[in-house]
Protein backbone atom coordinates (compact mmCIF):
# COMPACT_ATOMS: atom_id res chain seq x y z
CA UNK A 1 0.00 0.00 0.00
CA UNK A 2 1.03 3.56 -0.54
CA UNK A 3 0.97 5.39 2.78
CA UNK A 4 1.54 9.06 3.57
CA UNK A 5 2.31 9.95 7.16
CA UNK A 6 2.09 13.63 8.09
CA UNK A 7 4.13 14.50 11.14
CA UNK A 8 7.62 13.04 11.66
CA UNK A 9 7.60 13.13 15.46
CA UNK A 10 8.24 9.99 17.45
CA UNK A 11 4.80 8.62 16.50
CA UNK A 12 5.17 9.27 12.78
CA UNK A 13 8.74 7.98 12.64
CA UNK A 14 7.85 4.79 14.47
CA UNK A 15 4.85 4.15 12.20
CA UNK A 16 6.95 4.79 9.10
CA UNK A 17 9.62 2.35 10.21
CA UNK A 18 7.10 -0.37 11.02
CA UNK A 19 5.13 0.08 7.81
CA UNK A 20 8.27 -0.06 5.66
CA UNK A 21 9.18 -3.33 7.37
CA UNK A 22 5.70 -4.50 6.42
CA UNK A 23 6.55 -3.87 2.78
CA UNK A 24 4.56 -0.70 2.31
CA UNK A 25 5.58 2.36 0.33
CA UNK A 26 5.82 5.09 2.94
CA UNK A 27 6.26 8.84 2.57
CA UNK A 28 6.91 10.74 5.79
CA UNK A 29 6.14 14.45 5.69
CA UNK A 30 7.25 17.15 8.10
CA UNK A 31 7.47 20.92 7.99
CA UNK A 32 10.72 21.08 9.89
CA UNK A 33 13.86 20.46 7.77
CA UNK A 34 15.87 19.90 10.97
CA UNK A 35 13.72 16.91 11.92
CA UNK A 36 14.38 15.46 8.51
CA UNK A 37 18.15 15.93 8.61
CA UNK A 38 18.37 14.58 12.16
CA UNK A 39 16.39 11.41 11.62
CA UNK A 40 16.51 10.65 7.91
CA UNK A 41 19.27 8.09 8.38
CA UNK A 42 17.30 6.16 11.02
CA UNK A 43 14.47 4.82 8.93
CA UNK A 44 15.86 3.28 5.78
CA UNK A 45 13.42 2.86 2.94
CA UNK A 46 11.16 5.72 4.02
CA UNK A 47 10.68 8.55 1.56
CA UNK A 48 11.18 11.81 3.43
CA UNK A 49 9.47 14.97 2.27
CA UNK A 50 9.59 18.47 3.66
CA UNK A 51 6.51 20.65 3.49
CA UNK A 52 3.25 21.73 5.09
CA UNK A 53 0.64 18.99 4.98
CA UNK A 54 -2.08 21.60 5.42
CA UNK A 55 -1.40 22.81 1.87
CA UNK A 56 -2.99 21.12 -1.12
CA UNK A 57 0.13 21.70 -3.24
CA UNK A 58 2.31 19.82 -0.77
CA UNK A 59 -0.05 16.86 -0.62
CA UNK A 60 -0.28 16.80 -4.42
CA UNK A 61 3.52 16.89 -4.75
CA UNK A 62 4.01 13.84 -2.50
CA UNK A 63 1.39 11.81 -4.32
CA UNK A 64 -1.77 12.04 -2.20
CA UNK A 65 -3.82 11.42 -5.35
CA UNK A 66 -2.54 7.82 -5.45
CA UNK A 67 -2.22 7.19 -1.72
CA UNK A 68 -4.19 4.33 -0.17
CA UNK A 69 -3.87 5.73 3.33
CA UNK A 70 -3.08 9.12 4.82
CA UNK A 71 -2.22 9.21 8.52
CA UNK A 72 -2.30 12.65 10.15
CA UNK A 73 -0.25 12.18 13.31
CA UNK A 74 1.23 15.58 14.08
CA UNK A 75 1.18 16.91 17.62
CA UNK A 76 -1.37 19.52 16.62
CA UNK A 77 -5.06 18.58 16.41
CA UNK A 78 -5.96 21.52 14.14
CA UNK A 79 -3.30 20.43 11.64
CA UNK A 80 -4.44 16.81 11.83
CA UNK A 81 -8.02 17.85 11.03
CA UNK A 82 -7.01 20.05 8.10
CA UNK A 83 -4.75 17.33 6.66
CA UNK A 84 -7.57 14.77 7.03
CA UNK A 85 -10.14 16.99 5.37
CA UNK A 86 -7.85 17.82 2.44
CA UNK A 87 -6.86 14.17 1.99
CA UNK A 88 -10.51 13.13 1.77
CA UNK A 89 -12.01 16.12 -0.01
CA UNK A 90 -9.28 17.03 -2.49
CA UNK A 91 -7.71 13.63 -3.11
CA UNK A 92 -10.40 11.07 -2.25
CA UNK A 93 -7.99 9.05 -0.11
CA UNK A 94 -9.85 5.82 0.80
CA UNK A 95 -8.64 5.59 4.39
CA UNK A 96 -7.74 8.59 6.53
CA UNK A 97 -6.38 7.95 10.01
CA UNK A 98 -5.92 10.81 12.47
CA UNK A 99 -4.29 11.17 15.84
CA UNK A 100 -6.20 12.99 18.59
CA UNK A 101 -3.79 14.79 20.93
CA UNK A 102 -6.27 16.51 23.23
CA UNK A 103 -9.18 14.19 24.08
CA UNK A 104 -11.48 17.22 24.30
CA UNK A 105 -11.15 17.49 20.52
CA UNK A 106 -12.11 13.91 19.81
CA UNK A 107 -15.73 14.75 18.92
CA UNK A 108 -14.51 16.60 15.82
CA UNK A 109 -12.54 13.65 14.43
CA UNK A 110 -15.37 12.22 12.33
CA UNK A 111 -16.23 11.95 8.65
CA UNK A 112 -17.32 15.59 8.81
CA UNK A 113 -13.58 16.30 8.72
CA UNK A 114 -12.69 13.39 6.46
CA UNK A 115 -11.50 11.16 9.30
CA UNK A 116 -12.23 7.44 8.90
CA UNK A 117 -10.45 6.31 12.04
CA UNK A 118 -9.24 8.39 14.96
CA UNK A 119 -6.89 7.29 17.68
CA UNK A 120 -6.80 9.11 20.98
CA UNK A 121 -3.90 8.05 23.19
CA UNK A 122 -5.34 9.50 26.44
CA UNK A 123 -8.63 7.74 25.73
CA UNK A 124 -6.92 4.42 25.03
CA UNK A 125 -4.81 4.75 28.17
CA UNK A 126 -7.87 5.48 30.28
CA UNK A 127 -9.53 2.36 28.88
CA UNK A 128 -6.47 0.25 29.67
CA UNK A 129 -6.22 1.60 33.21
CA UNK A 130 -9.91 0.90 33.77
CA UNK A 131 -9.37 -2.59 32.40
CA UNK A 132 -6.49 -3.20 34.81
CA UNK A 133 -8.50 -2.23 37.89
CA UNK A 134 -11.90 -3.56 37.09
CA UNK A 135 -13.18 -7.10 37.31
CA UNK A 136 -16.80 -7.46 36.39
CA UNK A 137 -17.25 -4.17 34.61
CA UNK A 138 -17.68 -3.33 30.99
CA UNK A 139 -14.67 -1.41 29.60
CA UNK A 140 -14.75 0.24 26.21
CA UNK A 141 -11.39 -0.11 24.49
CA UNK A 142 -11.71 1.13 20.94
CA UNK A 143 -14.23 2.78 18.66
CA UNK A 144 -14.58 1.52 15.10
CA UNK A 145 -16.51 2.47 11.97
CA UNK A 146 -17.02 6.11 13.00
CA UNK A 147 -18.42 5.19 16.37
CA UNK A 148 -20.97 2.67 15.08
CA UNK A 149 -19.10 -0.22 16.67
CA UNK A 150 -17.02 -0.59 19.79
CA UNK A 151 -14.57 -3.12 21.05
CA UNK A 152 -15.11 -3.69 24.75
CA UNK A 153 -13.67 -5.98 27.37
CA UNK A 154 -15.26 -7.65 30.37
CA UNK A 155 -13.38 -9.66 32.98
CA UNK A 156 -16.03 -12.04 34.26
CA UNK A 157 -16.62 -11.73 38.02
CA UNK A 158 -17.66 -14.60 40.29
CA UNK A 159 -21.27 -13.48 40.08
CA UNK A 160 -21.48 -13.01 36.32
CA UNK A 161 -24.68 -14.54 34.90
CA UNK A 162 -22.63 -15.87 31.96
CA UNK A 163 -20.55 -18.32 34.04
CA UNK A 164 -20.75 -21.96 33.00
CA UNK A 165 -22.77 -21.15 29.91
CA UNK A 166 -22.01 -21.94 26.29
CA UNK A 167 -21.62 -18.81 24.19
CA UNK A 168 -24.38 -19.89 21.79
CA UNK A 169 -26.84 -20.08 24.72
CA UNK A 170 -26.09 -16.63 26.13
CA UNK A 171 -28.66 -14.97 23.91
CA UNK A 172 -26.26 -12.28 22.70
CA UNK A 173 -27.91 -9.82 20.32
CA UNK A 174 -27.19 -10.26 16.60
CA UNK A 175 -25.42 -6.89 16.53
CA UNK A 176 -22.70 -8.16 18.83
CA UNK A 177 -20.08 -10.86 18.78
CA UNK A 178 -17.51 -12.26 21.17
CA UNK A 179 -14.21 -11.99 19.26
CA UNK A 180 -11.81 -13.53 21.75
CA UNK A 181 -11.61 -14.95 25.25
CA UNK A 182 -8.38 -14.51 27.21
CA UNK A 183 -8.02 -17.28 29.79
CA UNK A 184 -4.88 -17.53 31.99
CA UNK A 185 -2.86 -15.73 29.28
CA UNK A 186 -4.09 -18.08 26.54
CA UNK A 187 -6.25 -16.77 23.75
CA UNK A 188 -9.30 -18.98 23.31
CA UNK A 189 -10.94 -18.61 19.92
CA UNK A 190 -14.62 -18.46 20.81
CA UNK A 191 -16.98 -21.03 19.34
CA UNK A 192 -20.62 -21.60 20.00
CA UNK A 193 -19.84 -24.35 22.52
CA UNK A 194 -17.09 -22.45 24.36
CA UNK A 195 -18.03 -22.30 28.05
CA UNK A 196 -17.19 -19.13 29.98
CA UNK A 197 -15.51 -19.19 33.38
CA UNK A 198 -14.89 -16.68 36.15
CA UNK A 199 -11.77 -14.62 35.43
CA UNK A 200 -12.13 -14.95 31.64
CA UNK A 201 -11.38 -11.71 29.82
CA UNK A 202 -14.04 -11.56 27.16
CA UNK A 203 -13.42 -9.25 24.19
CA UNK A 204 -16.69 -8.32 22.58
CA UNK A 205 -17.55 -6.22 19.54
CA UNK A 206 -20.81 -4.31 19.98
CA UNK A 207 -22.83 -1.67 18.19
CA UNK A 208 -24.43 1.21 20.05
CA UNK A 209 -27.84 -0.38 20.32
CA UNK A 210 -26.69 -3.79 21.49
CA UNK A 211 -24.32 -2.64 24.22
CA UNK A 212 -26.83 -2.53 27.11
CA UNK A 213 -27.97 -6.10 26.34
CA UNK A 214 -24.42 -7.40 26.11
CA UNK A 215 -23.57 -5.65 29.36
CA UNK A 216 -26.57 -7.25 31.08
CA UNK A 217 -25.65 -10.72 29.80
CA UNK A 218 -21.98 -10.60 30.74
CA UNK A 219 -21.95 -8.33 33.79
CA UNK A 220 -25.44 -8.78 35.24
Amino acid sequence: MKVIIAGAGSVGRYMAGQLVLGGHEVTLLDQDPNVLSRHAALAAGVNWAQGDGCEIDTLARIGAADADVVAAVTGDDEDNLVISLLAKQEFGVPRVVARVNNPNNEWMFTDMWGVDVSVSTPHLLTGLVEEAVSVGSFVRLLTLAQGKARLAEVTLADNSPALGQEISRLGLPRESTIVAVLRTSQVVVPRGDTVLHAGDEVMVLVTGESEPDVRRILVG
Binding site: Q89, G92, M112
Partner: protein, 93 residues
Protein backbone atom coordinates in the same frame (compact mmCIF):
# COMPACT_ATOMS: atom_id res chain seq x y z
CA UNK B 1 -22.26 30.02 -21.46
CA UNK B 2 -19.48 28.05 -23.19
CA UNK B 3 -18.59 24.56 -22.08
CA UNK B 4 -15.86 24.20 -19.47
CA UNK B 5 -12.61 22.87 -21.03
CA UNK B 6 -12.28 20.07 -18.41
CA UNK B 7 -15.92 19.02 -18.67
CA UNK B 8 -16.45 15.25 -18.80
CA UNK B 9 -19.49 13.03 -19.13
CA UNK B 10 -20.44 11.49 -15.81
CA UNK B 11 -20.20 7.96 -17.19
CA UNK B 12 -16.57 8.50 -18.22
CA UNK B 13 -15.50 10.42 -15.09
CA UNK B 14 -12.42 8.98 -13.40
CA UNK B 15 -12.50 8.66 -9.58
CA UNK B 16 -9.85 10.51 -7.58
CA UNK B 17 -9.00 12.92 -10.39
CA UNK B 18 -10.06 16.56 -10.52
CA UNK B 19 -13.04 16.67 -12.87
CA UNK B 20 -15.84 18.96 -13.96
CA UNK B 21 -19.32 17.64 -14.62
CA UNK B 22 -22.59 19.32 -15.50
CA UNK B 23 -26.12 18.11 -15.09
CA UNK B 24 -29.54 18.56 -13.66
CA UNK B 25 -30.39 18.18 -9.99
CA UNK B 26 -32.58 15.08 -9.77
CA UNK B 27 -32.48 14.40 -6.05
CA UNK B 28 -31.80 16.36 -2.88
CA UNK B 29 -31.44 14.87 0.53
CA UNK B 30 -30.55 16.23 3.96
CA UNK B 31 -28.29 13.49 5.26
CA UNK B 32 -26.82 13.72 8.75
CA UNK B 33 -23.10 12.94 8.89
CA UNK B 34 -21.91 11.95 12.37
CA UNK B 35 -24.79 13.92 13.85
CA UNK B 36 -24.02 17.05 11.82
CA UNK B 37 -26.18 18.22 8.93
CA UNK B 38 -25.09 17.61 5.36
CA UNK B 39 -26.75 17.99 2.00
CA UNK B 40 -26.51 15.31 -0.70
CA UNK B 41 -27.41 16.50 -4.19
CA UNK B 42 -27.57 14.01 -7.04
CA UNK B 43 -27.05 15.45 -10.51
CA UNK B 44 -27.60 13.64 -13.73
CA UNK B 45 -26.47 14.13 -17.32
CA UNK B 46 -27.34 12.04 -20.39
CA UNK B 47 -24.79 9.38 -19.39
CA UNK B 48 -25.25 8.86 -15.64
CA UNK B 49 -25.48 10.44 -12.24
CA UNK B 50 -23.19 11.58 -9.43
CA UNK B 51 -23.76 12.86 -5.92
CA UNK B 52 -22.25 15.96 -4.35
CA UNK B 53 -22.21 16.09 -0.56
CA UNK B 54 -21.79 19.39 1.22
CA UNK B 55 -21.13 19.03 4.92
CA UNK B 56 -22.36 21.37 7.63
CA UNK B 57 -25.44 22.63 5.79
CA UNK B 58 -28.99 21.59 5.00
CA UNK B 59 -29.57 23.81 1.97
CA UNK B 60 -27.69 25.87 -0.58
CA UNK B 61 -29.27 28.97 -2.05
CA UNK B 62 -30.20 28.43 -5.70
CA UNK B 63 -29.68 24.67 -5.63
CA UNK B 64 -33.13 23.25 -6.20
CA UNK B 65 -34.61 20.21 -7.96
CA UNK B 66 -34.35 20.60 -11.73
CA UNK B 67 -31.61 23.22 -11.52
CA UNK B 68 -28.63 22.84 -13.85
CA UNK B 69 -25.39 22.70 -11.95
CA UNK B 70 -21.67 22.51 -12.73
CA UNK B 71 -19.64 20.67 -10.13
CA UNK B 72 -15.86 20.68 -9.93
CA UNK B 73 -13.79 18.56 -7.59
CA UNK B 74 -12.52 15.09 -6.80
CA UNK B 75 -15.02 12.26 -6.63
CA UNK B 76 -14.68 8.80 -5.14
CA UNK B 77 -16.73 5.69 -5.75
CA UNK B 78 -19.15 5.01 -2.90
CA UNK B 79 -20.62 1.68 -3.85
CA UNK B 80 -21.17 2.22 -7.56
CA UNK B 81 -22.01 5.92 -7.26
CA UNK B 82 -19.55 8.76 -7.85
CA UNK B 83 -19.53 11.03 -4.83
CA UNK B 84 -17.92 14.43 -4.35
CA UNK B 85 -17.23 15.91 -0.93
CA UNK B 86 -17.57 19.69 -0.68
CA UNK B 87 -16.94 20.36 -4.39
CA UNK B 88 -17.01 23.81 -5.99
CA UNK B 89 -20.22 24.46 -7.84
CA UNK B 90 -21.67 26.90 -10.35
CA UNK B 91 -25.36 27.51 -10.92
CA UNK B 92 -26.04 27.26 -14.65
CA UNK B 93 -28.84 29.04 -16.49
Amino acid sequence: MTAHPDLVEIASAIPRRRIVIEGQVVRMRARPTSGQPSLAVTISDATGSATAVWTGRRAIGGVTLGRRLRVEGVATLVGSQLEFTNPSYTLLP
